[in-house]
């Protein structure tokens, strides 16, 4: 009897110290995971409609994933794989080129003293206060006009959209990069320059390899931003075959939630996968970048 009581007492003191935390955590986990579990369940449910959902589907199937990759669902004009490819292409290209431009500009700001340097840095910050999407009407007309002259660079082209993204990718990331370059001692390049290397060679061979972690962060932040963009892509792309995943999926599912839920669930999960993997594996660096003022879409 007395033994029982002390067991209960032990449990109670554990509960007060830690156990209640687990209880709250479980409640929050339910809130967080409930939707994710449902969407996974929907993606393997042979009945594709939203109304027929059950948490544990009877006869689970990978049919929806097959439809995603191979197509063949007659009633949908939805080239998911092409949309995914378009998204990945645009985000990787913007990431690579944008990071390169950033690094070049940041190097100049970090290593050279020239007239207009301070103004340049401040203007970069000022321009960045204006989120690019606020200029959506102007960007639309700009690409419309470019398209009159060079149709492969205007509205409804990936090259045009890529240029728009590149313009927006520069501002704050140049600051992040400059901060990182500032922390690399000058002596390293100076000794290289004594050996006859030009500034550019010193930049390429010495600074860039050292800045690899920061390059990765900026590449990934840019990539995630582009991958998640809806507003610019939806304004500047017009054909189904040109859409990115965000625009394509939205048009695919809006108004047809009930009928297309199953295949949408599969598409959403596959679409989320690349970013989730990248994010989870580089979580700490990405968060460090975000807390310094970058944004995630």
């Amino acid at each position: 009897m007395s033994n029982d009581k002390s067991l209960l007492g032990q449990f109670w003191s554990w509960f007060v110290a830690r156990g209640f935390k687990h209880l709250i955590m479980l409640a929050i986990l339910a809130f967080v995971l409930y939707p994710i579990i449902w969407i996974i369940s929907a993606s393997i449910n042979p009945v594709g409609s939203l109304s027929a959902q059950s948490l544990i589907p009877d006869n689970p199937t990978l049919e929806n994933y097959r439809l995603f990759f191979l197509g063949g669902a007659e009633q949908y004009d939805a080239p998911f794989l092409l949309w995914l490819w378009n998204s990945l292409k645009l985000s990787v290209l913007t990431g690579v080129i944008g990071t390169a431009m950033c690094a070049l500009a940041a190097y100049a700001f970090s290593r050279f003293r020239f007239t207009g340097r301070r103004t340049g840095l401040l203007s970069l910050l000022l321009v960045q206060l204006f989120p690019q999407m606020l200029a959506m009407v102007a960007l639309y007309f700009l690409l419309l006009q470019i398209g009159d002259l060079a149709p492969w660079l205007g509205l409804n082209t990936h090259l045009g959209l890529l240029m728009v993204y590149l313009g927006g990718s520069l501002g704050f990331h140049t600051w992040l990069m400059k901060g990182f370059f500032d922390s690399i001692p000058h002596s390293l390049e100076e000794s290289a320059q004594v050996d006859g290397a030009s500034h550019f060679q010193a930049f390429m061979r010495i600074i860039l390899p050292l800045a690899r972690p920061m390059l990765a962060v900026i590449f990934i932040l840019t990539m995630i931003f582009v991958y998640s963009d809806f507003i610019l892509a939806s304004i500047l792309l017009q054909d189904t075959s040109q859409y990115t995943l965000s625009v394509g999926l939205k048009l695919f599912i809006f108004g047809s939630y009930n009928q297309r839920w199953g295949i949408f669930a599969a598409a959403a999960l596959i679409g989320a996968l690349p970013i989730v993997i990248i994010f989870l594996s580089l979580q700490d660096q990405i968060v460090a970048g975000l807390t310094q003022g970058s944004v995630k879409g």
């Binding site: 070049l104 321009v127 999407m133 009407v137 700009l142 006009q145 590149l166 313009g167 999926l249 939205k250």
Partner: protein, 522 residues
């Protein structure tokens, strides 16, 4: 030595090739632009190319070379669009004002009316070997003959030797290479004939039946010297006012209008036009509430979880942290689209699996303003709290544990410790991020547009919805496809958003001392 020499040479070569290609493209493009009479663009392009040449050829501007690639895109796709947005905000560009002035005048001058006793013209149609047609028309009033030349109508002399009557029956059967069409052929070409409408001066002829064309008169005449439009029928005079021809004697306005500068009219309309002011201020207020509530809810939950997890003895801590961050790792547009499905009134799981079985209710989430707002905030809480959690965890770990020991010695309760130590120290590092988060949510287009789409509509407003924030309102005004497109007004609202977000960010920079820190570093 040899190696360096080589690289210098190849560097010069590379530079020459690059500048050559750039100049070639710039000159080609500016010629094209010039031919399309886009003189401003052409000049800007040439100046840009000249600056780049200078930068790469002068030794003084060496550092700028590193910035050229970025600056090109920054100028073309951020700076120029910002400037263009300011310009657009002072125009009436949009539905009814898409054309430029001369296009609008041309369009008005081709609006016709039928006079009271229109002259009728009998006609014969002729066709050549290539299937091209000509019409010979005879006026019903003065018997004059007219011949079409494409869209134009030319008077011909009765005795002109082009008109040949081979069989002498009084009907012309040949005009040059053209020979008369049979009635069957005419009927077959009916559509062409109906759309033909040959013109001469202010008169246009329209087919009225199988044998006749009827006279129509151009209603408006542009009087170049006075820059006004005159209504031929009524004599009314229309003056151009901010892109519309407005009658000097009545309220009548002519459509289409044209693109014109309207000064600050768009901004004035936002504050005075009852059709815009009401919805605008509801959207405006909600945007602030939305951004504020988003920050508050995500921060509260994130901080709460961080406080629970900030305990190294807690088992399963890495697992909890790893799972809780998932919503933040998923691209927001995907989460938003999924949640929209969950909130579906009839089939979404929130109603069918939770609310219906437990409480017996199935609310229509996006038809009630309050519920729609709750829904979007809930979605944003779901995908936004992990960021706050990580940020708070980081900040909590940087607080020195000795502070708590001292507090315990002094007999402070856990709540007092939180209020006096944890929270103030946390806010030092987290406050700027909260302001940043506010600025981000202020323009969080994806959540609003993909979850509620701004719905339900505000009663009496054409475009705005109860959950619309300024950026989604702007998007709908310019690209919504419902009702009239108003690029000018959309640009004006963009400017207002810019001013607000700019102010917030400036305050933030000031607060964090980012600018001061930077100025030292500069």
């Amino acid at each position: 030595m040899r190696n360096i020499f080589q690289s210098r040479v190849s560097g010069t070569l590379l530079k020459t090739v690059f500048l050559g290609a750039l100049d070639g493209i710039a000159i080609w493009a500016s010629v094209q632009l010039f031919l399309q009479s886009e003189v401003g663009f052409a000049v800007a392009l040439l100046i840009g190319a000249a600056v780049i040449n200078y930068v790469f050829l002068s030794q003084k501007t060496y550092p700028v070379r590193y910035m050229v690639p970025g600056l090109i895109f920054l100028f073309a796709f951020v700076v120029y669009p910002i400037g263009y947005t300011f310009y657009l905000s002072t125009t009436n560009y949009g539905t009814g004002h898409i054309l430029n002035k001369s296009q609008a005048i041309e369009s008005l001058e081709t609006q016709y009316y039928q006079p009271e006793n229109p002259t009728s013209y009998t006609f014969n149609a002729y066709e050549n070997d290539q299937g091209k047609m000509k019409l010979l028309l005879k006026s019903g009033t003065d018997e004059n003959l007219y011949l079409t030349e494409g869209k134009k109508l030319k008077e011909v002399n009765q005795g002109s030797d082009r008109l040949v009557d081979t069989d002498g029956d009084g009907t012309i059967d040949r005009i040059g290479e053209y020979s008369i069409m049979t009635r069957t052929e005419v009927i077959r070409s009916l559509q062409t004939l109906q759309e033909w409408r040959p013109k001469s001066g202010k008169v246009s002829l329209q087919m009225s039946d199988l044998n006749h064309f009827q006279e129509q008169i151009a209603q408006y005449e542009y009087i170049e010297s006075r820059e006004v439009m005159k209504d031929r029928r009524t004599g009314e005079i229309f003056k151009p006012v901010e892109g519309t021809f407005v009658s000097t004697t009545s309220n009548k306005k002519l459509q289409p209008g044209f693109k014109a500068s309207v000064g600050l009219e768009n901004f004035i309309r936002i504050f005075t036009d009852p059709l815009i002011t009401g919805p605008f201020f509801r959207v405006f207020t909600w945007t602030f509430i939305w951004a504020f509530m988003s920050v508050l809810t995500t921060f509260a939950l994130g901080l709460g979880i961080a406080l629970l997890l900030n305990d190294d003895q807690l088992s399963l801590k890495p697992l909890y942290k790893g799972l809780l961050i998932l919503p933040y790792a998923i691209p927001a547009f995907i989460s938003a689209l999924i949640w929209r499905g969950f909130f579906n009134t009839n089939v979404g799981i929130i109603n069918t699996k939770i609310l219906q079985p437990l409480f017996g209710i199935a609310p229509a989430w996006f038809q009630d303003p309050i519920l729609a707002k709750v829904a979007v905030l809930l979605v944003n809480l779901w995908l936004g709290f992990p960021y706050m959690m990580i940020v708070c965890l980081g900040a909590l770990q940087s607080i020195q544990p000795e502070l708590y020991e001292v507090a315990k010695v002094d007999g402070a309760s856990p709540f007092q410790q939180f209020r006096k130590i944890t929270f103030p120290l946390l806010m030092v590092s987290v406050a700027p991020l909260l302001i940043g988060s506010f600025a981000f949510n202020f323009n969080n287009f994806n959540i609003i547009f993909l979850v509620s789409r701004g719905e339900p509509p505000i009663v009496g407003a054409t475009t705005a919805g109860s959950t619309d924030i300024l950026i989604s309102y702007t998007y709908k005004l310019a690209f919504g496809g419902q009702g009239a497109t108003q690029y000018g007004l959309a640009a004006a609202i963009s400017i207002i958003i810019f001013l607000i977000v700019g102010t917030i960010s400036a305050v933030n920079f000031h607060y964090t001392g980012a600018l001061e820190e930077m100025s030292e570093n500069v």
